[in-house]
């Protein structure tokens, strides 16, 4: 249990570090807002006071970013399960087709995928999706490939003897997935799933280039109005961080919880 206890300790340290950071940022904010307006001979005067009236707008953008992220992650994971099973299929054509899909999604820039789905879908299928649904579709397709690969590697990491033990016991395919494969595969791939999800959360900022009013888009708007891009974009970055970092910490705790019975002690 030594390694796990060190991890638990490390996560406590991390929580303290976060509080320290927040406190530190608060101090910086206070200093800058009280100083703002004058200063030494630099060509840019920091003034975080101007952010305040625009905070609600930025938070609205954050709300949309969160909606986008949650929808894409949920749908992407569901798709990923099917992708993983298709990659492990006994039918060669299914495996090949899925591999092609995965490589295309991994090998092309997400922004192009977004633009492509938004503009090409109506051209190819006659269906015109509203912007929000269109980007969720694009992200879902993209994530399906990444989550699919993660699930696939998790499933393949389980020793064959484990699945056979389930067969020997008489468990059906579904029962084997439920009691043997998924519990173990999930624990193995959770860190990867988290990093894919956090990446997506930040990649949603790409939709701002399509005119979808997410956090970054609102940041552009406010920055144009105030002529203070540094303060605005710094605030935007802090808002992304304020969501991502605590989630990382929570998931790390959850990971430790899942692994509590698994550390070898003999």
């Amino acid at each position: 249990m030594g390694a796990l206890r060190q991890e638990a300790k490390a996560s406590r340290v991390a929580v303290l570090a976060v509080l320290g950071c927040v406190l530190g940022l608060g101090v910086v904010w206070f200093l800058l807002t009280s100083i703002g307006g004058s200063g030494p001979a630099v060509s840019y005067h920091w003034d975080f006071r101007i952010v305040e009236p625009y905070l609600p707008v930025l938070l609205e953008g954050l709300g949309l970013t969160l909606e986008l992220s949650i929808a894409s992650i949920a749908l992407g994971m569901a798709l990923g399960l099917f992708v993983a099973m298709a990659r492990l299929s006994s039918i060669a054509a299914v495996r090949a087709g899925t591999t092609l899909y995965v490589e295309v999604m991994r090998g092309t820039p997400p922004l192009i995928q977004l633009v492509w789905v938004y503009y090409a879908l109506p051209v190819l299928t006659g269906i015109q999706l509203p912007a929000f649904e269109s980007v969720v579709l694009a992200f879902t397709l993209n994530l399906g490939a990444f989550y699919g690969e993660a699930f696939r590697s998790g499933i393949q990491a389980i020793p064959q003897e484990q699945v056979e033990a389930g067969e020997i016991l008489g468990l059906s395919y579904v029962q084997r997935m439920q009691y043997v494969v998924v519990p173990q595969a999930f624990r193995i791939v959770l860190p990867v799933l988290i990093s894919i999800s956090i990446s997506l959360f930040k990649d949603t900022s790409l939709v701002s280039f399509l005119g979808v009013s997410d956090l970054l888009y609102q940041g552009h708007v406010v920055s144009d109005v105030t002529y203070r891009p540094l303060e605005i974009y710094t605030t935007v970055a802090l808002l992304y961080f304020a969501i991502a970092f605590p989630i990382t910490l929570i998931m790390r705790r959850y990971e430790l919880h899942l692994h509590r019975h698994l550390a070898e002690t003999k």
Binding site: E161, G166, Y179, V180, T265, K266
Partner: protein, 258 residues
């Protein structure tokens, strides 16, 4: 080794052949195990001993032959591809159990839950019966104090005993043991062999693949020597070990026993 041995074959294998690509892994094997018998299979690696167990269990396909359980057809293949299953296949399949060499227990479940899983989800027994049964079999193999431990926190020998308990909880008519002590540290082997010996003496029908010659000599009713996918020699432990008839058997025993 005296225990009640009747004439009814629990499992009967006739003409079992299996190819893996070009090589013949099982070459028309005929073997049967009668009720209460402990049959030990010895042989060099690659001889097909494990494959035999796995094929009878249904974990591997075979190209020719017939497997019967308690006199009724279990599975048969006559043309190299189409497998014909007997009626009530699933119930007959569940009459057989197998303990493998390693990675046998599910790591995210406690020992108790590992043993309860089959009776609960496959045999659909009531919660009370499942719990009592698990406690009974785990006590029988000497793991009464480890029921709520997790596989990562018990020794290799304890893991294998738990795996045996898992099979006992399933009411098996036959349990196969595929080199269950081969991956264990030497000092842990005895406790597992002891449980197996007690099982044999209590009348369980067993097919044991092992390198443990002491066990074979003292516990087996019959020993068969396999090599290159065929049964080369078969007989009582005393006969096979002390008076082997075939050259290959003699060579193998010499290498093994030094």
């Amino acid at each position: 080794m005296e225990s009640e041995v009747s004439d009814t074959p629990v499992v009967q294998v006739e003409g079992l052949s299996k190819s893996f690509g070009k090589s013949l892994v099982l070459n028309s094997v005929d073997v049967s195990v009668v009720r209460g018998e402990t049959l030990v299979v010895i042989g060099p690696s690659g001889s097909g001993k494990s494959t035999l167990c796995r094929t009878v269990m249904g974990l591997e396909r075979f190209s020719h032959g017939k497997i019967s359980i308690e006199g009724r057809l279990f599975a048969e293949c006559t043309n190299g591809k189409d497998l014909r299953l007997g009626s009530d296949h699933k119930r007959r399949r569940l009459a057989m159990g197998m303990v493998c060499q390693q990675y046998t227990l599910f790591p995210q479940l406690s020992v108790r839950h590992n043993v309860e899983l089959g009776p609960a989800k496959v045999l659909h027994l009531s919660k009370r019966v499942v719990r009592e049964r698990a406690e009974a079999v785990l006590t029988r193999v000497g793991l009464a104090e480890k029921m709520d431990s997790y596989p990562a926190h018990i020794s290799g020998g304890q893991k294998q005993r738990a795996a045996i308990a898992r099979e006992l909880a399933m009411d098996r008519r036959l349990i196969m043991f595929d080199e269950v002590t081969s991956a264990l540290d030497p000092e842990l082997v005895h406790e597992v062999l002891q449980v197996m010996r007690e099982l044999a003496e209590a009348g369980m029908t067993m097919l044991v693949v092992t390198h443990e010659m002491g066990f074979a000599r003292n516990v087996a009713n019959r020993v068969i020597f396999m090599d290159n996918g065929s049964i080369v020699e078969s007989g009582s432990p005393a006969r096979v070990f002390d008076h082997p008839e075939q050259e290959r058997t003699k060579t193998f025993l010499e290498h093994l026993l030094g």
